[in-house]
Every structure is written in C-alpha cells, then in structure tokens.
Assembly symmetry: C2
Homo-oligomer: 262 residues x 2
C-alpha cells in the first residue's frame, strides 16, 4: 500500500515507524515545517518530505492525516484538492470522518498516549476504524491489522465518548502523578518511591472493575484523614490541589453510594 | 518475633499473609467483630483470634495496629494498657507514632493499595519506618526487611506528604478510571479496551517524569476538543464529571506553563 503521512507529531512519529516496520511503502511525509518533516523522514528512512501542501505527491493509495484537530479542520480541503480519488484517513479521537469532503474517507484511531521520546509497540494498541464506503472498510481493516492485534469498528458518533474516557484514564490520571511529584519534590522525597503503588493501581484494573478497586480515605469515609490532607494543602498554599482534592473525594463518595447500574 | 495483629481490613489481611510467609509467629488476630477476626485467622492459619480488647494476649514482642485512623485514635489507649512494655507499631500513612502513649512506639507504613480480594506480594512494596527509641529501629528495620526489599526511614513529620501524594497517584487516578468506565458503559463500550492505554500511561512514568509524560487536549492547548468534551458531559447531565474535566484541564495547563523549579 502506497501511503503518504501528513503530520510529524507524537502520534505521527510512532505511526511512521509502525508503518515502515509493517512493510508499507511510506512515500512521503508532510509537516508544517521543513525541519520536522525532514527529521521524521530521516529517522524512518523515508525518502521524500515536504512542508508545502501543493508538493504533496498525488499518487498514493492512502493519505493518513495525523495533526491537531484545529489544523485538520483548517487544511483538510487543501489537502484533498487534486487527490480526491485516494482514500483519506485521520487518526483523531474526536473528529468526524466527514471533515474530509471527499467520497473515500475514514478514520484509523490508535488509542494510546504517544510521546516522541518513547516509542511504543503498536501490536497491543487498540485501533478503532471507520469508513464511509463499505469497500474501503476491508482495506482499512487490513491496514490496521497489519499494525495491531486489536482492531475494532467504531462510528464517528460513538468515538468521542471513547476519546473522552481516554482523557480521564490517561491524561487526568497522569496529571495526578504530576501533582504528587510536586508535593514530594517540596519535601525532598523522590517520585520513584511511588512507582510500585502506581504499578499496582494499574494492575488491579486487569482483575477488578475500577469502582471495586477503589481504596483510600474518601472511599472508606475517613473524614479525619481528609481534613488533615486539606489542611496540609491549604497551609502549603496549594489552592488548585485543594480544590481537586475536594472535588475528587466528593466524586469518589458519590460513586460509592450510587454504583453503576448493570 | 512474636507478633499480634490488630485489624482485619484490606491492609491487615495482606500484611497477615506476608508475616506468616516470612516465618514470623503471628500469635493472635484482633478485629472489631468476631466474624472478621475468625475469617482472617482461618485464612492465614493463625490459631487465636478475638474481638475483645481485654482478651488480646499480653506476651507478644510486637503489636501491629492496622485499623482506620479514627479507630486508632479511639482505642489506642485501651490497646496499650497492660501491654506497655511491648513495641507498638501502626501502619497508617497520616498518623503520628505518638498516638501510642507508651515509650516503645513506631510506624511501619507499607505504601500500597490493598484489597482483600487481591493479594499482593510485599517484596516490591516500599515500607516507611520510624521508631521513638533508637534501639527499636533495628528491630523494625529487620521486620520490614523480612517483608520487603525497599525499606526507608521517614519521620512522622514527612510521612503525611507521602501519604497525600499517594492519594493523588493511586486513589484519584483510579477514580478517573471509574468515571471513564461509567461513560463507556452508557455507550456500550467495554472498559477493557482502555487497559493498553492505562498500562502505557503507567509504564511511561518509569522513564519520564509525569510532567513530561503528559499528553492530551489540555496539554496541547486544543480548545476545540476540550469544548466538545465539555458539551458532551453537559448534554449527558454529568455535572460532576464536567467540573472535574474543567479543573483538571486548567491544572494541566498551569503545570505546563509553570514547570517545577529544580
């Protein structure tokens, strides 16, 4: 499959490596700046790169667009122009496939947290796919399966819920660690001592639903501890942490008293 | 070492197994109810159990108290009475060791999320210890090292910060998954699809500081996506989730713009 990749960010970088490793012909990489397009092309051994939309090649089978939602909205029409017969895919969790004005459009959304500094193996990453045309679904499924062992079909209507859930599970959970690291740093305790706890918190979710895995002062209604923690945060001038502590504790107690209906 | 365990909750249960496995003589288990004391004694092969404080044996070397902070405050004097010469330890992250009015007092705080339903290996759990008497420190260190490979000394003054950080890293992070599971359930998407993402979120923390590992719409300033997510939460009547989404996103953006001072 001849593929052109539009984007050179965290996701695009990891995807480029995965595509090359899966044996696809990655013909060209486009990025807003020449420097980032060149950097990714060199790292992945791709020969052509550009930062000019008119210079994007016209003969690929598939164009995969992996850029911010804002940029996708802005440049999708220019990208498609003159390349209307190809299949256009984006990788965004919260954008409809109709952002491409052409007939052959779809989505290939690998749900993972990507950083340029850390390469991840695509094989275990769930990929959620969708196409406008039934005949393209086979193609996208084959492409997704060449990268990952977990491929699911999911509509543009349902995908935003998945993406929103991912923000909670990943982005917000990670931020909890950032806040913890800040507290520890102030008191000279290395963040690394938290890793066994964080590892086990995650491991539990493989055997218990998160509501049952919940522990801590809020879940056992330990007002003494909660008040002490709030006093600490306020005496340290940590207003935002104090607000987060209050809100999360309330929400934990609400969830415990009104468990999900099955 | 002859040990009596006071408590039969999540932490006490896991600790009882670890003590027995490490070859200590666990002489008796006390719990508020006979049923829970019996249950844990039977599971761990301990012969004596009681729910009456006066019936707690008087000849153990060490008494380990693993109950809620509230209960610890309330019953510590009765527990110690008539057993003043023994060494008294509690396992709480946010209580000072002085809750025991006797001379030989200390703390053995295993920092982990414990559930009765899921046994964990103690060897990788960091244990934070403290004693009032210098000569007891050796004893507690030996006891802690018989359970875990990671034993640290930490004062009653610093321990609350560690415990508070653990609430963020573990309890609040887990609650983010509970909220995600609720959203997914409403739309018929199984929570299991989140596991590779959650695993990777945790794995990244072994190689990147949490601030650098941060990804997602808030960290890249993607207002389009954030507004869409807030619309979804509000149209679903999820007021608490909407508040959490706003507050966490603001906090992510604050952290990114004012990184920790080294």
């Amino acid at each position: 499959m001849k593929i052109t990749l539009i984007g050179a960010g965290n996701l695009a970088t990891n995807l480029a490596f995965a595509l090359v490793e899966a044996g696809h012909e990655l013909r060209q990489i486009y990025s807003r700046t020449d420097a980032s397009a060149r950097e990714l092309a060199e790292k992945t051994g791709v020969e052509a790169f550009t930062s000019q939309i008119p210079a994007i090649n016209k003969d690929s089978d598939v164009y995969i667009v992996s850029i911010t939602d804002k940029a996708l909205n802005e440049i999708a029409p220019q990208l498609v122009e003159g390349r209307e017969l190809a299949l256009w895919l984006h990788t965004a969790g919260s954008m409809p496939m109709d952002v491409f004005g052409c007939r052959r459009r779809g989505v290939l959304y690998p749900m993972q947290t990507f950083s340029k500094q850390k390469r991840v193996s695509f094989r275990a990453i769930p990929i959620f796919i969708e196409t406008a045309e039934a005949e393209d679904l086979k193609l996208v499924k084959a492409l997704a399966q060449s990268l990952s062992d977990s491929v699911y079909e999911l509509s543009s209507q349902d995908r935003p819920y998945l993406h929103l859930a991912a923000v909670f599970c990943c982005n917000f959970a990670n931020h909890c660690s950032t806040l913890a690291a800040r507290l520890l740093e102030k008191h000279g305790i290395p963040f690394n001592v938290m890793l066994p706890l964080i590892d086990e918190t995650t491991k539990k979710l493989h055997t218990l639903p998160p509501l049952e895995a919940q522990t801590g002062p809020a879940s056992r209604g330990d007002e003494n501890v909660m008040n002490k923690h709030l006093q600490i945060l306020e005496s340290e001038g940590e207003q935002t942490l104090s607000k987060i502590y209050r809100l999360m504790s309330q929400s934990i107690q609400q969830s415990a008293s009104a468990p999900e209906t099955k």
